[in-house]
């Protein structure tokens, strides 16, 4: 009796840890959707592919796929910078020309870019799942950081969680206390008025893509390590789930995306653990449908005073 109770509670604890870890990753991706939506009212469906690129690039740089192998830290930094730039490039090439076109046109383009990038990855890296060889990744990441009873928290989980928390804090500081962050919020509220104040709207939108895509890239690297699997369609599923998280939080709201990511991560792990693991993917969809039916504006409503 006591034994099963202990077993139950340690299972619960383990899942809580796993859920929070997963949730923090969803949050990292979700803020990218929400920030871009905030400034240009576009659901950037190719955001998941930026995340996928982050995973592939860090993998390639660290394993010498492109000829030279770099130290892990350097590879990560370069991959993240590349993701940020790729996001900016994506906007300039694919979305900016459609800024005044009907929203559906941009949305379809976003879906097109998503498919294009997936296939580009397929072409470059192939369909086979890649995994980080243990030798190139700092060994401590896979060691347990904390262990009580059956509950194990790996250093990687600790790293994922602290990275996510630090980046979210940094993001909030940027959005609320810098000139460019203020401009992002102003654009989200009234683009024309922001332009009349001398804001170069295109440039601020580029910064927004850079920030969101950089965070997405970080998430891709972390997930690539966490599941030790990197493949061209990884961005598709993660993207849908993170998008669901953004919708749950209220698309356009950064705190909403963070909370939505956390909730979704927990729901997925607990749902998978207590109902059936084959349902875990469906949970994201169920959450999204439920939100759209019950409270389309999400937890922090898109029409809340401060959309950022």
């Amino acid at each position: 009796m006591l034994n099963t109770l202990l077993e139950q509670s340690s299972l619960f604890l383990q899942q809580l840890v796993n859920g929070v870890t997963l949730g923090s990753i969803y949050a990292l991706i979700a803020v990218g959707y929400t920030m871009v939506y905030g400034v240009i009212q576009l659901i950037n469906f190719a955001h998941g592919e930026i995340y996928m690129l982050g995973a592939f690039l860090s993998f390639s740089l660290v394993t010498g796929f492109f000829g030279i192998g770099l130290p892990f830290g350097l590879a990560v930094v370069i991959a993240v910078i590349f993701c940020a730039l790729a996001g900016v490039f994506l906007d300039i090439v694919a979305y900016r020309p459609l800024r005044r076109a009907p929203r559906l046109a941009a949305l379809i383009t976003a879906i097109g870019m998503s498919i294009f990038l997936q296939n580009l990855a397929l072409l470059i890296w192939g369909a086979q799942i890649k995994s980080f060889p243990r030798a190139v990744v700092p060994a401590f990441l896979f060691a347990p950081a904390l262990q009580f009873g059956d509950v194990v928290i790996s250093w990687l989980q600790v790293v994922i969680l602290t990275t996510a928390v630090l980046l979210m804090v940094m993001l909030q500081l940027i959005v609320h206390y810098t000139r460019i962050g203020r401009a992002m919020r102003a654009i989200a509220q009234d683009k024309t008025a922001a332009a009349l104040m001398g804001v170069n709207v295109d440039r601020v939108v580029s910064y927004t893509f850079a920030l969101g895509s950089g965070l997405g890239g970080v998430a891709g690297i972390l997930v690539g390590l966490y599941y030790n699997a990197v493949y061209p369609t990884m961005g598709y599923f993660a993207g849908i789930k993170a998008f669901a998280a953004a919708v749950l939080g209220g698309i356009g709201s950064i705190p909403g995306a963070i909370l939505g990511g956390g909730i979704l991560g927990l729901a997925e792990v607990f749902g998978g653990g207590y109902i059936s693991s084959s349902y875990s993917d469906g949970i994201a969809y169920a959450v999204m449908i439920l939100v759209i039916l019950v409270k389309p504006t999400g937890l922090f409503g898109r029409f809340a005073r401060d959309k950022a």
Binding site: R179, R182, A183, R185, A186, Q189, D190, T192, A193, A194, A195, L196, M197, G198, V199, N200, A304, R305, D306, K307, A308
Partner: protein, 236 residues
């Protein structure tokens, strides 16, 4: 040389020919007003000057140089700032942040802070509520915020689009006296108004606009006496 000069500008919204050859000029230090009925094209004129709307034909000159091809932010940087119709403050930004948005193109922190204090002096209600969201202000207060925000850009010239819109008479009076004060500081003003009486009393010179064209222009004093203006815009 006029500070601002519009030469035969044409603008379209899709197929709608909103401005059909508008020409006007404003000299440094003046207040000029542009009056006209709803839908005449007054706001379109200001949006064309600010490069929010593109020109199909014609040119805008500022300081004698053409603004063709300039982006809205470049125009603000050259000292020409607009207070748009309906105020369009940022409702979710605090009053202070709204004012800081006005100073977006400026870099010198100490000068910006000094101007913040200047605006708080000019509009004490903004100073008292600086940490509140702009959206919590009343219409009149929002107009003050919109004016203060524009002043934060250190403008040479202001384009004001119906600053009295939707305000109680007392507030209208207050806003107009503030505009007069701003002009007294040497800031050139182009004032768009439906309140023709107040606008013509304040301005040096006026333009009357109808369906996308300037149909009449004269010193404001003369327009106040003009029979057509009296009948159509002054309700006399």
């Amino acid at each position: 040389m006029p500070l601002l000069q519009l030469k035969d500008i044409h603008c379209y919204y899709g197929n709608i020919h909103a401005l059909k050859g508008v020409s006007l000029e404003v000299y440094s230090g003046e207040i000029r007003t542009l009056i006209g009925a709803n839908g005449a094209g007054k706001s379109t004129t200001l949006m064309a000057i600010s490069a929010i709307i593109g020109l199909k034909q014609g040119e805008v000159f500022y300081h004698g140089t053409s603004l063709a091809g300039r982006a809205p932010d470049e125009i603000v940087k050259s000292g020409l700032c607009q207070v748009p119709e309906g105020r369009r403050i940022f409702p979710g930004l605090t009053i202070r942040e709204n004012l800081e948005m006005g100073a977006y193109c400026r870099r010198v922190k100490s000068a910006i802070n000094a101007d913040l204090e200047m605006v708080y002096d000019l509009f004490p209600v903004l100073g008292e509520r600086r940490k509140q969201a702009g959206g919590t202000l009343s219409g009149g207060e929002q107009q003050m915020l919109a004016l203060g925000r524009a002043l934060m850009s250190q403008p040479q010239m202001l384009l004001l689009d119906e600053p009295s819109l939707g305000l109680a008479p007392l507030m209208v009076e207050k806003i107009f006296s503030i505009i007069e004060r701003i002009a007294g500081e040497g800031i050139t003003i182009l004032l768009v108004e439906q309140n023709a009486h107040a606008a013509l009393n304040l301005a040096d010179y006026g333009y009357v606009m109808e369906t996308g064209k300037i149909i009449l222009e004269a010193p404001a004093r003369e327009l106040l006496q003009d029979e057509r203006v009296k009948e159509a815009y002054l309700g006399e």
